[in-house]
Amino acid sequence: MEGLTLSDAEQKYYSDLFSYCDIESTKKVVVNGRVLELFRAAQLPNDVVLQIMELCGATRLGYFGRSQFYIALKLVAVAQSGFPLRVESINTVKDLPLPRFVASKNEQESRHATSYSSDSENQGSYSGVIPPPPGRGQVKKGPGSHDAVQPRPSTDQQEPASPVVSPQQSPPTSPHTWRKHNRHPSGGSSERPLAGPGPFWSPFGDTQSGSSAGDAVWSGQSPPPPQENWVSFADTPPTSTLLTMHPASVQDQTTVRTVASATTANEIRRQSSSYDDPWKITDEQRQYYVNQFKTIQPDLNGFIPGSAAKEFFTKSKLPILELSHIWELSDFDKDGALTLDEFCAAFHLVVARKNGYDLPEKLPESLMPKLIDLEDSADVGDQPGEVGYSGSPAEAPPSKSPSMPSLNQTWPELNQSSEWETFSERSSSSQTLTQFDSNIAPADPDTAIVHPVPIRMTPSKIHMQELELKRAGSDHTNPTSPLLVKTSDLSEENKINSSVKFPSGNTVADGYSSSDSFPSDPEQIGSNVTRQRSHSGTSPDNTAPPPPPPRPQPSHSRSSSLDMNRTFAVTTGQQQAGVVAHPPAVPPRPQPSQAPGPSVHRPVDADGLITHTSTSPQQIPEQPNFADFSQFEVFAASNVTEEQDSEADKHPEILPTEKASDPATSLRIAQADGKIEEKTAASVPANVSKGTTPLAPPPKPVRRRLKSEDELRPDVDEHTQKTGVLAAVLASQPSIPRSVGKDKKAIQASIRRNKETNTVLARLNSELQQQLKDVLEERISLEVQLEQLRPFSHL
C-alpha cells in the first residue's frame, strides 16, 4: 500500500470511522462487517467497493487494518468524487471531500459527519458529514450534507422511512446494488458477511445490522427512495410508522420482498413511516394486503367470512385476545365478515401489533374502511407476483390511494402486515345497536299488547281497576294515568254508561258503540275514552264523584289497563246476562246520586268501589240524569245495602278491574245494587258509606278514606255508577267479540291478557273484600258514635 497522506480532517474522520468499525476495540483491525456496512453506506456500486477493498489491500490481507481502512476510506472519497479508483489516486487527488456514507444507523457516524462538517476545513462542501452509517437513523441524515454531496442518498435517508426497509429484500449486505437484480438477498454480495440479511427478515424488530448493510450500497442503481426502507429498518422499529413504504422503496422491496420474509418487509414499512401517520397504509402495503385478500377471496368486492379470516390471522401468531380485539376494531359493520377495506385494516393492525405497536382502542381514521377502490390492485403488476406474504408490494402504486379495499398483502408472512391499522372508528356498534334494536323489537308480537302503556305503579291492581272504574264514570280522565287507565276508564265508562242506560237502552247503545272500538287497539280505546268522557259528562254521576286521584295502579306486567278494558269489554259483552260472580263487575256508579254532588269522599280506599257503596240512598233518587233512574236507584240502594255485603259489593267493584268477568260482574252489580238499595233504605243514610260499593266506579274507591256521612252519598253514587258501568260493560260485550274475532293473534293476546286480568281481578277482589271489612268497621264505629251523639234519640 502506498503511503497515505491524510489531511487533518481526514485523519480525524478516518480515525473516527475506524473506531466505529473497530467494534472489537482492537485498534488495529476493524471488523469486516462494519466496514462493509460503511462502504455500503458510501453508496458506491458494489464493484467499486470491491475494487476499493482490493486496492486497499484488505482482500489481500483478509482484514482491514488501520492503514487499509484509511486507504479504503480515501478511495471511497475518491470514488464518490468521481475519480477513478487507483492506488495512486489516494494521494494524488487532492482536496478530496471526505467520503460520504449514507444513512448509516450509526449515530457515531452521524456525529462524525456533523462534527466534520463543522470542521473548518473545507469539508463544508460535504455539508454534512458523513451520514450515519448505512441504514441508520434516517432522520439524522438530515443535515443537508447529503444533499450537497449526494442528493440521492440524502433524499432517501431523509424520508422518514423505515429504517430497515432495505433488509427486506435481501441480506443487508447487498441491498442496493442488488436491488436492481431483483433478487434474493442471496444475490450474493461479498458483503454478505455483513450484518446479514437477518434484519431484513427478522420480523419486526430487527435491526440495524440489516439496515445498515442494505443502506450501504446505495449505489445509485436503485432509486434512493427504496433505500429508505432499508435504512430505517434497524433504526427505530418501534417508532417508525408502520410500514409506510415509500414508493421508491417499493421497488427495492419488491425485489427483495419476494424473498424476504414478511417480517422484514414489515419492518421496513414500519420504519419508513416514521413521520407519517402511523396507521397509514402505504401503497405497497395495500397492494400486499390486496393480494392476500385475493388468496382468500378472489372477488375483491366480496367478503371474507369470519372463519377464514380467523385462520388467516391466526397465522400471525398473535394472541387470540389481541386478534379478537383487532377483529372488533376492523369489522366495521359488525357483520362477521371482512370486506377488502376491513381486511386491509385488520392486516395493518396485525402488522402494527407485530411490530410492537399497541393496538388502539378505536379504529384510526386512516384505517377506516373507505369506498372500495379496485384500481390499486392494478398497480401491483410489477410485483414479483408472489401472492402471499413473500411478495413485496412491489411497485407501490405511485398513487397512494387510500383505498384499502384490497388487502394486498404481498408479504410473505401475515406478520408483516400488522402495521396497517386503519380501523375506522365509525364503530359499527352504534349501527348494530340500531339494527339490533330493530331485530329485537319485532320479537314482541304486539308491542301494543306486550308493552302496555306505562302505568303508575299502584299498590294493587284492584285499586287501579277501581280507579278505572271510577274514572269511567267520571268525566275526568286522569291525565296522569297512562292510557292504560284511560282505557280502563273507558271501559268503565262504557260499562257505566251502558249500565246506566241499559234500562233505557239509549245511552247504553252509545256506550256500546264507544266500546265497540275496544278491540285491542289502544287507540280505539283512547277514542273510547274520549267518548266515554263525553258520556260521562252527560251522566250525572260523573259530576258527583270526582275522579279519584290518579293512583299508581298495579299494572300487569303485560296487560295494561288496555287489556283490562278489553277484557272487560269482552266479558261484559259476553256475559251480559250471566252474572256470576266475578268480581270485576264494575258497580254502576250511582250516577243519579252523584247529581246531588255529594262531596266525593269516597270512603272506599283505592278500590274506590267500596266508597261507592256508602252512597246514601239519598243520592239514589238524585240520579235524574239517567234515563231510567229507578233502576239506578235500585242499584244505588243495592249498593248501599250492599255495604254490609262486603263481598257482594266488592265483587262488583272488582268487576271493573277484572275484565274477564265482565258479564258476571254486571249481573252482580245488579244484584249488589239491589242489595244496596235495600240497605240504604234500611240503614241510616249517614251510616253507610262504607260498604264497598262495588258499583262505585273504581275511581271512587280511591277516595275511600272518608268517614263522614258525605261518604255515604258518594258511595251510593258510586254504587249506582258501578252498576251502570257494569251494565255498560255487559252491554258492550256483544260488540266486542266481533272486533276481537278479526285477528286471531289478537285473540290469543287477548286471551292471555284476560288470564292476566283474571288474576289481577282476583287480587282486586281480595283487596276489595278487605276494604269492605274496613268499611264495615267504620260503619260500626260511626253508628256507635251516632248512638253516643244521640243517646236519647230512641227516647
Binding site: 372463519s307 379478537s324 345497536l433 303485560r558
Partner: protein, 139 residues
C-alpha cells in the same frame, strides 16, 4: 344505574360479571347466582305454547332491601342479570329494557367475532366499555 351486570351462559356459569367496585363484589356474585333460580322459574313458567310470545325481558326478578334484580334471557338461553340500586327510583321499566337491549346488542357483536369461542369469558373491550357506560350512567 346498574350496580352489577352479569352475563350467564346457558349452562348457568358466568360469562361475564362486572360490578361497581364500591361494594363487596362477592355479594353481587351471590345475588346473581341466586337470581338464576328465579330466572329459570320464569322461563319454565312461560310454557311451550308461549315460547313464540315469550318475552326476552323477564322484568324484576326479586327485590331486596337495597337492590332490585332484573333479568333478561335470550333465545339461546343466555341470561343477562342486572342488579340496580333501589335508591334509584327514577329507573323506569323501559329504561331497564333499553339497557338490556344494549347488552344484547353488544353481546351479539361479541358473538360475531370469529375469535370468540362461545362459552369463553367475554373479554371484549367494546363490551367492557358498553357495560362501564351503563354502570356509570346512573350516578
Amino acid at each position: 344505574m346498574a350496580v352489577c351486570i352479569a352475563v350467564i351462559a346457558k349452562e348457568n356459569y358466568p360469562l361475564y360479571i362486572r360490578s361497581t367496585p364500591t361494594e363487596n363484589e362477592l355479594k353481587f356474585h351471590y345475588m346473581v347466582h341466586t337470581s338464576l333460580d328465579v330466572v329459570d322459574e320464569k322461563i319454565s313458567a312461560m310454557g311451550k305454547a308461549l315460547v313464540d310470545q315469550r318475552e326476552l325481558y323477564l322484568g324484576l326478578l326479586y327485590p331486596t332491601e337495597d337492590y332490585k334484580v332484573y333479568g333478561y334471557v335470550t333465545n339461546s338461553k343466555v341470561k343477562f342479570v342486572m342488579v340496580v340500586d333501589s335508591s334509584n327510583t327514577a329507573l323506569r321499566d323501559n329504561e331497564i329494557r333499553s339497557m338490556f337491549r344494549k347488552l344484547h346488542n353488544s353481546y351479539t357483536d361479541v358473538m360475531c367475532n370469529p375469535f370468540y369461542n362461545p362459552g369463553d369469558r367475554i373479554q371484549s373491550r367494546a363490551f367492557d366499555n358498553m357495560v362501564t357506560s351503563m354502570m356509570i350512567q346512573v350516578c
